[in-house]
């Protein structure tokens, strides 16, 4: 019974837990409910992934109405892979939040805060699971609205969180509305909202203006959420001023979910064989990706706030995603998915480490990191490992990402791009070097009584750090999973019922 309805339970359980959290009298109970829900989702996503690998595609018809008339949840290797990423990072952040959240959120606000976390979480899971384009928009809005509020909760320590959240709201809403406009155009052409069905009906079409514009609006709309380079304006402030847990959660998952939506649109709904899409991939994504990698990394070099530095680094990393996508081959797609997973792990662990520092010092400027190498050895060594991974040192997951990206570039014969990928990762050396140097080679300010963060925060942090190393030393698991996911993305018509076939 549960196995059969797991696809929907996975998303609905956190959503149903949200109102429960409102009524929790004590914050701890809300925390327990939320953590239980995320752990359930984590277990569920592993089971779903196994099922999807076995069956090829799991199609769950909501309300029993067959697609394309009804809404379906359509899980293949690709989105169940993303489910794992989301629920893994979500679970880790929740456990971490037990001590971190009370430090930043008033206790009377906490039950509602957990409600928002749950809604955000289930929204992301929903976006990932659904096979219906409009349903995707609805979940996207649940996830977005709650993340605006979550970012604004940083106002407890800095009012700039409010303006950050407001900008995020404006741009996020414009993005979502763009998505709807694009969807409308596609609907006019195809008369359907089911993504697999759209794919079938678009496959035969060649370039009409409507198709092009619809495509463009969808891509720009998702791009705003993904913070693709020129559309990234909301991200640095939102990440900097949000509470630590929220930043870690968003950095680890929200861009990944948006990336998944982008991949789904690019590869499954539209197909990379469409001539205009190939043009966009090569002449738009490639230069944008390269610009993002370099410009954002260089901006990161000059940041004095570590959270903001990491935020810019995230924008640079979304450049790598674009590069991987622009290769438009299975290698590039695999590399993107591998990097998606790896980046989720390492960026979350970095933000969690910064969260530990904020917990103890109340600040996250580079200056406040001085001398922490001795005072908070566990936190800082996790930070160092995360940083090394971002640089791409072997035996970390970052190396695996870089390896496959470069390999995919070489497969295409794009020499300069391969070179740019490694050069970009090198910039990470300089901005992480600054922080690490401050932590280890500069004396801590006098009479600072900073001590190591509590175990309840270190344990989830180190869980991520260890997986960062373990999956870096043995990448068999991530890579084969990502390859299966990439193949699923490239096979849009697999597992369709007869009446929907091409």
């Amino acid at each position: 019974m549960i196995r059969q309805h797991l696809a929907i339970l996975q998303v609905m359980l956190p959503m149903l837990c949200a109102p429960l959290c409102v009524f929790a009298r004590r914050p701890v109970i809300a925390w327990l409910i939320a953590t239980a829900a995320t752990l359930f989702a984590l277990a569920g996503s592993f089971i779903l992934f196994a099922q999807a690998l076995n069956a090829g595609v799991i199609s769950y018809h909501l309300g029993g109405w067959a697609p394309p008339w009804g809404i379906e949840f359509r899980l293949d290797a690709a989105n169940s892979f993303v489910l794992i990423i989301v629920s893994l990072v979500g679970a880790v952040c929740m456990i971490y939040g037990r001590d971190s959240i009370p430090r930043e959120i008033k206790s009377s606000d906490q039950p509602l805060f957990y409600t928002m976390m749950m809604l955000c979480f289930s929204g992301m899971l929903g976006v990932t699971s659904t096979g219906d384009a409009f349903n995707l928009f609805v979940f996207l809005e649940i996830f977005s609205l709650s993340s605006y509020v979550l970012v604004a909760m940083g106002a407890g320590s800095d009012r700039r969180a409010l303006t950050a959240a407001f900008t995020y709201l404006l741009l996020g809403t414009i993005g979502a509305t763009f998505f709807v406009i694009g969807l409308g155009f596609i609907y006019v052409l195809t008369g359907t909202l089911n993504m697999a069905d759209i794919a079938v009906r678009i496959a035969g079409m060649s370039g009409s203006g409507t198709l092009h514009v619809g495509f463009a609006f969808i891509i720009v709309g998702i791009g705003l959420k993904l913070a693709i380079f020129p559309l990234h304006l909301w991200l640095p402030n939102a990440y900097t001023h949000a509470p630590s847990v929220v930043t870690a959660l968003l950095a680890g998952t929200s861009t990944k979910v948006a990336l998944y939506a982008l991949l789904r649109m690019l590869y499954t709904v539209f197909s990379p064989d469409l001539p205009f899409e190939a043009l966009i991939l090569h002449y738009l994504f490639l230069p944008l990706g390269l610009t993002a990698v370099f410009v954002a990394s260089i901006i990161a070099l000059f940041q004095s706030d570590v959270k903001r530095l990491l935020a810019w680094s995230s924008i640079a990393q979304s450049g790598y995603f674009l590069l991987g996508v622009s290769f438009a081959n299975i290698g590039g797609l695999t590399a993107t998915l591998v990097h998606m997973f790896n980046h989720a792990i390492m960026k979350s662990s970095l933000f969690l480490a910064v969260g530990c520092v904020v917990y103890r010092t109340g600040s996250c400027s580079v200056a406040s990191f001085r001398g922490l190498g001795q005072k908070m050895p566990w936190t800082m060594s996790a930070f160092v490992i995360g940083g090394l991974s971002m640089i791409g040192v072997p035996a970390t997951v970052g190396f695996v990402s870089k390896w496959y990206l470069v390999l995919a570039a070489l497969e295409r014969g794009w020499w300069p791009v391969a070179f740019a990928i490694v050069a970009g990762s090198l910039l990470a050396l300089f901005y992480f070097g600054r922080v690490i140097e401050a932590a280890y080679l500069q004396p801590s300010p006098e009479n600072s009584a900073v001590t190591e963060a509590p175990v309840s925060m270190l344990a989830p942090l180190w869980a991520l750090t260890i997986s960062c190393l373990a999956l870096g030393i043995n990448s068999e698991l991530t890579v084969s999973t990502a390859r299966a996911a990439a193949e699923a993305l490239l096979a849009p018509h697999a597992g369709l019922p007869a009446h929907m076939g091409p």
């Binding site: 009370p102 430090r103 959120i105 509602l112 809604l119 649940i142 008369g191």
Partner: protein, 167 residues
């Protein structure tokens, strides 16, 4: 006008009027349900929200500063793209547009035979796409809880480094 006027009160009134106007347009395009909702939600609830927000924040807008070139540029670019996109669309009211022939007949007959309520919009809303409606409820809940969370400290006070959560 909405752009120009700097006192926010008439602006809100105008935007409410705009909502009503658009509701009327919806009726003329056969979307009665949408019109009804737009009138109630867009013209009604939203206006109330605006008015209460204005009462809390003040109604006079400062004259805009800064260059208008960039917004205008974005605007024209957007308009050009949209017009390019709509140029290839089926004409207004074209009964043979793909959107009207692909799934629609099944929805209509389905409503007639399986659901049994006359309003097709309601039937799709409640059954075929019932999950969207559930999601919609989720959105409302999110908004409600979010507003509650944001505004629960009702009185204005300076929010500076008030650390220390567990008091």
């Amino acid at each position: 006008m909405i752009i120009r006027i700097q006192n926010l009160f008439p602006v809100v009134m105008l935007s409410g009027a705009f909502s009503l106007l658009s509701a009327a347009l919806f009726v003329s395009m056969d979307a009665v349900d949408v019109a009804f909702t737009e009138a109630a939600v867009g013209a009604g609830i939203a206006t109330v929200l605006y008015l209460s927000a204005i009462s809390l924040t003040g109604a006079i807008e400062k004259p805009p500063s800064g260059s208008r070139a960039i917004p205008l540029l974005v605007m024209t670019g957007l308009a050009a793209m949209l017009l390019y996109g709509t140029a290839d669309m089926p004409a207004y009211g074209d009964a043979n547009a793909p959107a009207h022939i692909h799934l629609m007949p099944e929805y209509i007959t389905g409503t007639r035979t399986q659901i049994g309520i006359p309003n097709i919009v309601s039937s799709i809303l409640a059954s075929y796409r019932g999950f969207d409606t559930l999601g919609e409820t989720g959105v409302i809940f999110t908004a409600g809880a979010g507003v509650l969370l944001l505004l629960r400290r009702g009185r204005p006070r300076r929010e500076l480094a008030n650390q220390g959560g567990n008091e």
